[in-house]
Symmetry: C2
Subunit: 165 residues, 2 copies
DNA sequence: TTAGATGCAAAGATTTTGCAAGATC
DNA sequence: GATCTTGCAAAATCTTTGCATCTAA
């Protein structure tokens, strides 16, 4: 979790990403800087469109194509994780080099996304019995349920319930 | 797993689905019958396009829109599970009423999808500590790795390696 | 100066929707 | 016969690609 938390070496994820990118032979550019900064500052995963919208709001607008290209670049270098919450959007989140991961819970009513960690679940996933010969690399876990807010609304008369997003 | 395995009552999943659909007030139709039969006969999840392609191959072609509509209908009645393997396609698989579930492993090289079960993982998922107030409903788990075939290819000289799909 | 980065617009791919024709009950 | 289902085509989304321009090194 910890947005913009320093990486093991004391540097920010953004610094780590920049270094990895240049070592890979990529040049720096305005769009890339914006995307990296957005991801570094975000507490959770962002879609390409969200990155573009936030860049506009921050007075540093970038093109949609650039957002997708930078995100793909970061993904190919394992600097971000690609997350699919099942709504047809690809989301990305910064991946700290220490391998720390978290999972996501999505509210089936309002779509709210909440990150969470669970060490026991993590162990079970690492120890998961994959089919013979399969060597596991990573795992994606998405839980679905109702957030506190929407669970409460279910108990209220329909007229008072807040309409879901 | 077990494709076309009888449900607890001894009926096939297709029969169960048909009954549930009519109880919900839906009428039967050619397209729906084909989709239900495809899912019942499939060992694993199918995309809408796969259903359409197989329907054509089986000499009972259905329209793309119908496939999507029937799949959505089945999903809303919890007769199928919607699965997102991260490649931008929605897949669906029959959901037996006894609640038996399995997960999927995807080969990062060739895209092969293999179902698997793991009771310990299942327990960890059921016991997962969701954020406060969140009531969990279901979970999606996708593991990624290299299948036996592709792991072997990595050891061969590039010239002999089979090109990935 | 050279090769990569960027942005716009067009193209691709997947899924949804409008509407007329055909089936079911 | 009323209503739901189906299928074609158009629309809506999300993502990728082509190409000219700009820019980092």
């Amino acid at each position: 979790m910890s947005p913009s938390a320093p990486c093991p070496g004391g540097r920010s994820w953004a610094a780590h990403a920049g270094e990895t990118l240049s070592r890979a032979g990529h040049r720096s550019g305005a769009a890339r800087a914006v995307v990296v900064q957005m991801l570094d500052a975000s507490a959770c995963c962002l879609s390409a469109q969200e990155v573009v919208d936030r860049s506009r709001a921050a007075q540093h607008p970038i093109g949609v194509a650039s957002a997708y290209r930078v995100l793909e670049q970061l993904h190919s270098l394992h600097l971000v994780r690609r997350i699919d919450l099942g709504d047809g959007l690809a989301r990305y989140e910064a991946l700290s080099p220490d391998g720390e991961r978290h999972h996501h819970v999505v509210c089936v009513e309002c779509g709210r996304v909440v990150p969470f960690e669970d060490h026991r679940l993590e162990s079970a996933l690492s120890a998961a019995s994959a089919p013979p010969g399969f060597s596991l690399i990573e795992h994606d876990v998405v839980l679905r349920g109702r957030c506190a807010h929407c669970s409460r609304d279910l108990l209220l008369p329909p007229a008072q319930a807040v309409s879901p997003a």
